[in-house]
Symmetry: C2
Subunit: 287 residues, 2 copies
């Protein structure tokens, strides 16, 4: 693997002293800010590290781009420079979430607030291909709904179900309720960006809340503190497993190129995870 690092000169100070092998720096004269409007970045930041990195993917001099920057700008610039596949106006955000048996790829997680039946079908195809390589078998794909019976939910989701059921690329397993995402029943869960974002953040919020409540219970008395001390390594293990930075690397699917969004607050381990997601997608020839 060769790494190209894009950034303003000032950010390279540490790297240039002791440049690791297989790594080159590409200087940019601008940086897209975290709170910048995507439309503004698209218009005024054509010399930014983000723009140049995505342009390298577009020109073929790089096979994938990983960024921990502004998500909206990354989507807008990657759509502009790489283009999307036919059914999609914008890429779908896809992330692996931990389950009882491995991971489940959820999409869309917020790029497309609404999605037609055709778009949900496109999400299913994209998610299935992203998951398949890692699974070594056709992915089991489910549609997020508020019940599992065929007559449940909005018309769009029921229409999408009819499309997905006809696919031979993946195994469509029907509707899934959001409480069942973590069961391992599905490899890919398909939904519009609003529902996906709500489901993912609700589960992250619930996990955070439970951990904080657990911490509170384990300082309630002297004895509780003792038990808490003994239990700490086990809780730590669990906490690490569910730490978003260790499940880092959201795919922007539906682009004519591999683009991975790292969490802005990812640590080294987390950023490596995002790089590995990009690598696996390149190997899977996802585009």
């Amino acid at each position: 693997v060769r790494l190209l690092v894009f950034g303003e000169q000032a950010h390279f100070a540490g790297l240039l002293v002791d440049m690791p092998q297989g790594l080159s720096c590409v200087q940019a004269s601008q940086t897209v800010l975290m709170d910048e409007k995507p439309s503004a970045a698209l218009r005024h930041k054509r010399e930014s590290s983000m723009w140049l990195a995505l342009a390298a993917v577009a020109s073929g001099s790089a096979q994938a781009c990983v960024s921990a920057g502004n998500t909206g700008a990354l989507m807008a610039i990657s759509r502009h420079l790489l283009g999307t596949c036919a059914e999609l106006e914008r890429p779908a955000i896809c992330k692996p979430v931990p389950t009882a048996t491995g991971v489940c790829w959820m999409l869309d997680l917020g790029a497309n607030l609404e999605a037609s039946a055709q778009q949900l079908m496109a999400f299913a195809q994209l998610g299935a291909r992203a998951a398949q390589r890692q699974l070594g078998r056709p992915a089991r794909v489910a549609l997020l709904n508020i019940g599992t019976e065929a007559d449940k939910g909005p018309a769009t989701i029921r229409q999408a179900a009819a499309l997905l059921a006809e696919s031979s690329e993946f195994a469509y397993i029907g509707f899934i309720e959001s409480g069942d995402i973590f069961s391992g029943r599905a490899d890919v869960v398909v939904c519009d960006g609003f529902a996906g974002n709500v489901a993912l953040k609700a589960s992250e919020g619930a996990a955070r809340f439970l951990f904080s409540q657990l911490r509170e219970v384990l300082v309630g008395s002297y004895w509780a503190r003792c038990v808490g001390f003994l239990a700490r390594p086990f809780l730590q293990k669990l906490h690490t497993k569910f730490n978003p930075s260790h499940l880092n690397g959201a795919l922007l699917l539906g682009l004519q190129g591999v683009v991975v969004k790292s969490h802005g607050g990812a640590d080294v381990e987390g950023y490596v995870a995002a790089l590995e997601v990009a690598l696996s997608q390149v190997k899977a020839n996802i585009t």
Copy 2:
């Protein structure tokens, strides 16, 4: 409090032997089955315990109805017998979820898959009134969205925000992300039934998953089992707190009467919680 218990004679066997004071049995000749279509129940179960109990509320001989039966049928029959308030075609399902500082009332949780800005406003008014009595101050109401900035999310939610901001009945505090529901920042979270159902079930699923993972970590070795044994009372405490049966009693809001849905699998303590929810709503003169 006087309790009227509606059911078929066969179900009263135990009660009739040693009838507690303040409790009377009302015999019904039918029962709405758990898997019965609401429309079928509405047409063919006019002598059922559910129908007679709701008819008692409609006639004024009871002030509230609590049922652990078929949710769809309960909604359909209560709408038919009690009627809904102006903006709503059907009642909104509203439940208290635990937060870092108390509870947060979420609605709608699945009765109305879509909701207009006006309907979201009606949900806000209903939820705020339900919460206010228990709080003793105006409720802090938030709209569920996928970002907190004013320009985020679907047009309907942004239009609803404008309506809610003008209310003097409650304190509108803006958008809330689903991960923040448990923070205690809002007393009432308003959303359409699809988003609410997805958020609630995702958080319940995540909590279930975490508990199961915790149990798994605590049987991984002899030492882990020892720590697990010591930690059990603390985990049990937490588990009890988050057990849906102890947060039992979903309100069917927007009806011309108090109707509370108990979880079908509630134990005695859970059913008492549902009865207490009904009682507090009657005292608050919610209708």
